[in-house]
């Protein structure tokens, strides 16, 4: 799976006279070439049998002693017990955050706040392998993604916002940027540590304190992050972490003691959270679902486009809000692209997420696997043509074959609903106008992809596509300096870049 550091590898044309390992032959069949297992060692992670909540700088049990289990989705084994926060715990965390904001963090000079954030960035870099392995064990994502994408980007995010903490006056000329106060943050399970970084780094840089609820299937990297906060000597109460089920998240965002709500997750839950703050003075940003179109024109560099399509939908098992789940391919090259895609799918390695060769790991939870299965069945029932490579899946764990649907109509559920799994729906178009029409024909507007060698067409498409991120001749790229967020029902507000700070400040006149 091409990512960040493997970019050059994937762009280099293959010129040898013999196909490298696993390379398809053009008939959907892989060369029978076994990869030797290359598992990453788990020894670097010391799993505690039980993790507490992180409130006011201390690890504490929940007020009613309740716990829930975190499961490794690749093995279905319980890997840790985690304290389940109660409403009383959330109240306590919010009070701690308020005290810390008022008495310490909010009045700390920006340059001092910056140093704490730099420390956190450094600690994440130092402990990167530990975070990567833990993240993979808890979430099911391939180690090469947690190692090369999630963890380095999380560290880079803290690094980037650290430098802003003492430079806010240059970002808002003529005005004074004041922190909002206490931020309530609820994050999803697809990029647990990275989403934590997206939420916490800008909040802290601007002088806010936070209470964060990680997803209930992936709480462990957040709790390891709590340890990093302590190692960094971050003042108690600046970061509080309260794992629990979704009703704890609702309690948190509805609490009168919070000033700002930030949520990443499904559009359905996002609407409930938006409603929870109706009529209040709370600020809010929402980063919700997507159904991105990845548009390939006939003059595109086809092999690169195929890699981009694969990266767009199979990266992180397709459990990505900005995944390129709708492939819009120009009719004249549709057959060629589909054939190339089928070839490429035959070489994707599905399996043990801790194996360094694995491209597609485990689906995050049984519930998500069932949802994907149901929607794929709906695709078949509604008449689309299903293609899956004949790869072996592990006996245990939540796995799903990379899936390709052709002959898809816009009305099909698989073309309209966010599947959040490794499932690509292929549609065709004839003219650029038709491509735009189909791409925009969705309530979502998070991301889009355009593949063409013609520069003016790229920029024309960029203007017409109603999406917050447009990747041209690339897909699924992320960077802390680069704002990310949606149009329409994909939410509002931006994370990353200088725009990420707008959501965490109140502007006053000088």
């Amino acid at each position: 799976m091409p990512q960040m550091t493997t970019e050059e590898t994937r762009l280099r044309p293959w010129t040898g006279d013999r196909a490298p390992a696993g390379w398809g032959l053009g008939d959907g069949q892989a060369i029978p070439w076994e990869y030797a297992p290359a598992p990453e060692s788990r020894d670097i992670v010391t799993l505690k049998s039980r993790y507490g909540l992180f409130i006011d700088g201390r690890e504490v049990p929940s007020s009613d002693g309740g716990v829930f289990s975190s499961v490794n989705p690749a093995t279905e084994e319980v890997i840790a017990e985690v304290s389940r926060a109660t409403p009383a715990d959330v109240d306590r965390a919010i009070r701690a955050a308020r005290r810390a904001q008022k008495n310490r963090w909010g009045s700390l000079p920006g340059r001092e706040r910056a140093k704490y954030l730099f420390r956190i960035a450094r600690l994440l870099q130092e402990r990167s392998r530990e975070f990567a392995v833990l993240e993979t064990m808890d979430s099911g994502k391939p180690i090469k993604e947690s190692r090369d994408v999630d963890v380095p980007l999380a560290a880079a995010h803290f690094w980037y916002y650290a430098g802003w903490a003492d430079k806010l006056e240059y970002l808002f000329p003529g005005r004074v940027a004041r922190p909002l106060g206490v931020a309530a943050q609820v994050i999803p399970w697809n990029f647990p540590l990275l989403m934590l970084a997206w939420k916490i780094a800008p909040a802290l840089a601007a002088g806010n304190t936070v209470v964060l609820k990680p997803a209930s299937t992936t709480p462990l990297s957040a709790l390891l992050f709590a340890e990093v906060c302590r190692q960094a000597d971050l003042p108690p109460g600046v970061v509080n972490i309260v794992p629990g089920p979704s009703d704890i998240g609702m309690h948190l965002v509805s609490h009168p003691g919070v000033d700002k709500v930030a949520f990443t997750g499904s559009t359905g839950v996002g609407k409930l959270i938006y409603k929870a703050i109706a009529g209040t003075d709370k600020a809010i940003t929402l980063e919700l679902g997507g159904k991105a179109a990845n548009i390939v024109f006939e003059d595109a560099a086809l092999d690169q486009a195929v890699e981009g399509i694969v990266n767009g939908i199979y990266f992180n098992q397709g459990e990505v809000c900005c995944a390129g789940s709708r492939l819009l391919v120009q009719e004249s090259i549709a057959d060629t692209i589909i054939e190339k895609l089928k070839d490429r799918l035959s070489t994707i390695r599905v399996g043990d997420p801790l194996d360094k060769n694995t491209d597609v790991g485990a689906i995050n939870s049984r519930a998500q696997l069932e949802k994907i299965t149901e929607l794929v069945q709906a695709g078949v029932d509604e008449g689309a043509d299903l293609y899956q490579p004949t790869c072996d899946l592990p006996d245990r764990g939540y796995f799903f074959r990379p899936t390709l649907f052709t002959n898809v109509a816009q009305s099909h559920r698989i073309a309209r609903e966010e599947i959040f799994g490794p499932v690509l729906s292929v549609l065709t178009f004839r003219t650029p106008d038709e491509a735009v029409e189909k791409a925009n024909n969705t309530p979502y507007g998070l991301s889009a992809g355009v593949w063409t060698e013609k520069g003016s067409r790229i920029l024309w498409m960029v203007r017409k596509l109603r999406a917050g991120v447009v990747w041209a001749n690339t897909f699924n790229r992320f960077d802390p300096t680069s704002p990310f967020g949606g149009y329409k029902e994909s939410g509002f507000g931006r994370e990353g870049g200088m725009h990420g700070l707008h959501a965490y400040v109140r502007l006053e006149d000088r």
């Binding site: 960040m4 970019e7 762009l11 880079a156 559009t267 996002g270 609407k271 938006y274 409603k275 703050i277 109706a278 009529g279 003075d281 929402l286 919700l288 790229i458 960029v462 999406a467 917050g468 991120v469 447009v470 990747w471 041209a472 001749n473 690339t474 790229r477 960077d479 300096t481 680069s482 704002p483 990310f484 967020g485 149009y487 329409k488 029902e489 994909s490 939410g491 509002f492 931006r494 870049g497 200088m498 725009h499 707008h502 109140r506 502007l507 006149d509």
Partner: protein, 324 residues
């Protein structure tokens, strides 16, 4: 209805230092001259239809004197207005930034020529003194000019070139959100409305305005200016009527992308935001602690804010690889 007091007639007294040339030149109407009164209508898609419902409500001056029958728009009128706005949106958003700036500047030009009429209506609607009404009108004109100037600058202030840590050209540009519903300030019928209307317009949005319910007449006169300026038909649509009837419909309309709740009555605010959440509308609120009645629209610093434009902009980030 009794004869209306106007800025022109009041300022005919020698003590009014600020009287404009035009006001001095205006003679009081002859006693036997019967005034031609104006019919106040809706403004939808560049036309001035009456409400399809055939309903009206009595509008009184600030002193309680009945002034005119305003249209009481229906939910059907509102849907028509949203449709007109949606149709007009792409063309307006695609105008060059400089062109949008010139179009809004022209609104100021045309208002300048009708200063006295606007002053009359503000006196009547808001019970302001003549001097204050004139100040309000002048500031309204200047506010158009201030916001018009942002048209070709806001992208440079809010946009960005992003130094991603890889070989990509990466930039962020603002784009208009789409169709914006504005629930106009209830108290400040002209200056307040202009201050809330200009920001989404300069950003390239199309707008549906629910006018101040109790003071709807100045904005109807403003639509006459808009209709004769270069603002394309449908870019601004104005409805008069009952907020309790129309706000819930506006908030529920799925083709409205953002809603300005400044002038939403307090008892409707929570339900309006609840409804707006169903389609993930962007909600533009009054700043914390600000009330509609007390807000000082004459304070340029408080009402001329680039953030108010940003509230109706979406940030689009574009990536392209760098290579040979």
């Amino acid at each position: 209805m009794p004869t209306r007091k106007t800025a022109a007639t009041r300022t005919a007294t020698p003590s009014a230092k600020t009287a404009s040339k035009r006001a001095i030149a205006t003679k009081p109407p002859a006693d036997d001259r019967i005034e031609v009164r104006k019919t106040y209508k809706l403004y939808i898609g560049g036309a001035f239809p009456r409400t399809e419902s055939g309903r009206s409500y009595l509008v009184s001056a600030a002193d309680g004197t009945p002034v005119a029958n305003a249209n009481r728009a229906s939910r059907k009128d509102l849907r028509d207005a949203v449709r007109a706005a949606r149709k007009a949106f792409p063309g307006w958003a695609d105008r060059t930034a400089m062109n949008r700036g010139q179009v809004l500047y022209r609104v100021a030009e045309l208002m300048e020529g009708r200063r006295e009429q606007f002053a009359d209506e503000v006196v009547q609607a808001e019970g302001a003194s003549v001097a204050r009404a004139r100040e309000i009108v002048l500031r309204s004109i200047d506010r158009w000019v201030w916001y018009a100037g942002w048209a070709d600058k806001i992208a440079q202030v809010l946009g960005a070139s992003n130094p991603a840590a890889a070989d990509y050209f990466n930039f962020t540009i603002p784009e208009a959100t789409g169709v914006v519903g504005i629930v106009a300030p209830e108290t400040s019928s002209l200056l307040g409305l202009v201050s809330r209307l200009a920001p989404p317009l300069v950003a390239g949005n199309a707008v549906v305005v629910l006018a101040s319910e109790s003071r709807p007449l100045p904005v109807i006169t403003l639509t006459e200016v808009l209709a004769t300026s270069d603002v394309p038909a449908g870019v601004v649509n104005v409805l008069t009527g009952r907020k309790h009837e129309l706000v819930p419909v506006l908030a529920a309309h799925v083709d409205v992308d953002a809603i300005d709740v400044w002038g939403v009555p307090d008892d409707l605010r929570q339900s309006t935001e609840l409804t707006a959440a169903d389609s993930v509308k962007r909600i533009a609120r009054r700043p914390r602690g600000v009330t509609d009645a007390r807000f000082d629209w004459l304070d340029d610093r408080a009402s001329e804010r680039p953030e108010w434009i940003a509230a109706y902009l979406e940030m689009k980030t574009v990536w392209h690889p760098i290579g040979v």
